[in-house]
């Protein structure tokens, strides 16, 4: 089948080509339909690729018919196919839910510009994931970052501008650091292909520039991934963005930067630099642990539901980084599984928040009093996803935290300290989740407030679909767990 051979590049090119066409679509419905159809097709491609990788192993594709490392090569393995599922799935779920929310919140005129930027963001993120070329990552990082700025700037209030301005500055610094790092590696190896870099770095005697490159790339991508303490841009950006954009970004965008970091460090630097794995671990683990506690603590005191969930993301990203910094198959696998599950939880939570904002016009906790009675189905979905966030048994969140605890136990006495931090962070999560539940279910709506109706079915359906996945993958965790385990094995087995 000819089309099947080209699926890796079509995964990127389809949304890329559709973006300018969506911009030209008139009205509000046509560009939305276009974006939904493209997301659906992209999701189908991602599913096909995931099956293909699972059965026949990693896929390579050479662009322009030029052999790597002279031309640009794409490389899709288990980790990349998992990321592609997240990106395209999150885009589809957010858009299916998003039409009325976008019509109400998004300020872009004509609104087709917004959908164009959306598809560019999808293409950019997918492009970063599928490529096997370090400079190509940068090009698609620029597409996804610029498109994300546009999406956030379309937010309903003027605070979106100041939030996005800070994000632009931070994002540009992150991208510049990444580029400096890639430049240094190119200087020492003469190649931009990631697998070729890994091979050629073995022969490099001067390790100082390579170490510096590892530093620049790590810090730049940590900034892009909003890993504590470089997360300052993220809560404001999520809070100011249109709710639908917050769903998409929370589910996958910062995780793609984390994906690039993990692939770069484990695939290129650790095999060729003596003792670099210990440096990587010793540098990241303290930040991960502090993030898990601090993020949750700040979330407890947040008054805005979107900001609360954003700080919860800071903590949850800490779990993922902790898993990766253990440098064992079990730890990496648990980290990747949590990356997948966290996307499910945050997508479901932000979808529910989108419905709440659609009815209440605000995400402030004080305004949401009585939401549990006014919007019982939406709040029930929120509660299910929140239980998954806390890590209650029978939910997806429990599975990945459980594997993380198992991975920590392998570390001996030190592991018990890690487990204590995981438990402490989970208890803090109970507190901030409880604050929302308490306001929504146990506080009466203020006197004289206008009556609020339940969200319409077309908002409820995607929200419940995602909430249902949190339960489903809590009961039948084999598929994502197997994918995460294979991805971890790929990463630790060396090779980019």
């Amino acid at each position: 089948m000819i089309a099947a051979h080209h699926l890796p590049v079509l995964q990127v090119v389809l949304p890329l080509v559709a973006a300018p066409l969506a911009v030209l679509c008139p009205g509000t419905r046509a560009p939305w339909v276009a974006a939904v159809l493209v997301s659906l097709a992209a999701f189908a491609i991602a599913v096909t690729l995931a099956f293909k990788v699972a059965t026949t192993g990693a896929i390579a594709y050479e662009l322009g018919g030029w052999p790597v490392p002279y031309g640009i090569g794409l490389h899709i393995d288990n980790f990349s196919s998992l990321m592609l599922l997240l990106i395209t799935g999150a885009s589809l779920a957010a858009l299916l839910h998003g039409k009325p929310v976008i019509d109400k919140e998004v300020q872009s005129r004509p609104v087709s510009l917004f959908y164009g930027a959306w598809l560019l963001a999808v293409a950019g993120l997918a492009g970063m994931v599928v490529t096997g070329d370090a400079f190509n990552v940068f090009v698609f990082m620029e597409i996804s970052s610029l498109a994300t700025y546009v999406l956030i700037a379309a937010g309903p209030t003027r605070t979106a501008f100041s939030a996005v301005f800070k994000y632009i500055i931070m994002g540009s610094i992150g991208a510049m650091f990444y580029l400096i790092g890639v430049g240094l590696v190119y200087m020492m190896t003469g190649t931009l292909n990631m697998a070729d870099m890994a091979a050629r770095l073995h022969g490099v005697d001067d390790v100082v520039p390579v170490l510096a490159a590892a530093g620049f790339i790590t810090v730049g991508l940590l900034l892009k991934a909003a890993i504590f303490p470089l997360h300052a841009w993220m809560p404001n950006a999520y809070a100011a963005a249109p709710s639908t954009v917050a769903v998409f970004l929370a589910a996958c965008s910062t995780k793609v930067a984390l994906y690039v970091l993990i692939r770069f460090d484990l695939g290129i630097f650790q095999p060729s630099l003596e003792g670099h794995d210990i440096q990587f671990s010793a540098f990241l683990m303290p930040f991960a642990l502090v993030a898990m506690i601090t993020g949750s603590l700040i979330a407890i005191f947040e008054k805005d539901l979107k900001r609360l969930l954003a700080f919860s993301s800071v903590a949850q990203l800490g779990y993922i980084v902790l898993g990766a910094s253990l440098l064992t198959a079990a730890g990496m696998s648990a980290g990747i599984l949590h990356l997948f599950n966290h996307a499910l939880m945050k997508a479901a939570l932000f979808l529910a928040v989108g419905s709440l904002v659609y009815r209440y016009g605000s995400a402030k906790l004080a305004d949401l009093a009585g939401a549990g009675r006014a919007m019982p189905w939406t709040m029930a979905a929120f509660t299910v996803a929140a239980l998954s966030l806390v890590g209650v048994p029978l939910t997806a969140g429990f599975i990945s935290k459980w594997y993380l605890v198992l991975a920590a136990m392998e570390e001996g006495t030190f592991g018990w300290f890690l487990i204590a931090v995981i438990l402490a962070s989970s208890l803090l999560a109970v507190i901030y989740v409880w604050r929302v539940i308490e306001v929504a279910y146990f506080r009466p709506a203020p006197e004289g407030a206008p009556a609020v109706k339940e969200a319409p079915w077309y908002l409820l359906a995607p929200t419940w679909a995602l909430a249902g996945l949190n339960i489903y993958f809590g009961l039948a965790a084999n598929a994502p767990n197997g994918l995460a385990a294979r991805a971890a094995a790929d990463l630790l087995g060396g090779g980019a």
Partner: protein, 329 residues
Amino acid sequence: MSLLFSVILVSFLLVVAVAVVRTTNLFAAIMLFAIFSLLAASYFFTLDAADVALTEAAVGAGIATVLFLSALALTDDEEKPDPDRRPLLTFLVLALMAAPLLYLGFWQPDFGGATTPVQQHVTPWYLETTPEAIDIPNLVTAVLASFRGYDTLGEVFVIFTAGIGVYSVLGMPKRGGAHSASSAAAWLYGIGHHAVPRVVAKILIPFIVLFGLYVQFHGDFGPGGGFQAGAIVASGIILYALIEGGNAARAVLPVQALLRMAVIGCLTYAGVGVATLLMGGDFLDYSVLSADPVAGQHLGILLIELGVGLTVTGILLLIFHAFAQRETH
């Protein structure tokens, strides 16, 4: 001799950079920025990077300056000192950043040497393959448009994203709407009242556009290509807008036409890729476009450069109009 030029140019660059930071007059800062870009372009030229030099001159000294001026028209000339400014902290952070970069300079493999890794690995292959497989004299174009054509496709979409971003945030002027006395346009277009710039500009515009077309279609043989050509053509039309007013420029190329131009440019580039897929090649493998692979490469590069030029021209003009129509506050 070249070393002497380099030392002089780099010293100038440093002096201008310090001056940009020191000045509190934003108009002066923009002009110094343009000088900085011109110096950088000259420096790239002494390093034999003619394509990069042309891009830096067209974009850095040309278009970027106009866009900075359009933004300046919306605000004040003088920088207002920030009361919370902590220069010592800023200095420390920047010093911390600069120190490793300076230190790394010592570890750089022999600058420009033939034995450096950069010259040893992929470059010889490009030098060997280009004459037989693509057969164009400008190696830079061969690498950008064919060997790494997928990156360049991405860059075109970066520009497109930037354009629709500005359009989405700032909005666009109504068709035929006159600009009020308080808009940025009134400040920008004031130059049109002076006789000398009017006459000179009218003579220059056709040559600027012609030069743009030359750079567009001559990119295979000498420095140039779609990015530089797009910037040059756009600056010619912006000059027209400055002399005759935004409405006159939009009568020639309305906003909707500019947007379509950018879209068509993107689709031309990506469309070549899709065509290569349908004709049995890998994405962007131009060799399949014609019975003769080398002729296919020529055709592919011509078409994608055309796409680049259209998108860059359209987007730069869109961004300019978006700024120029804003009301000052």
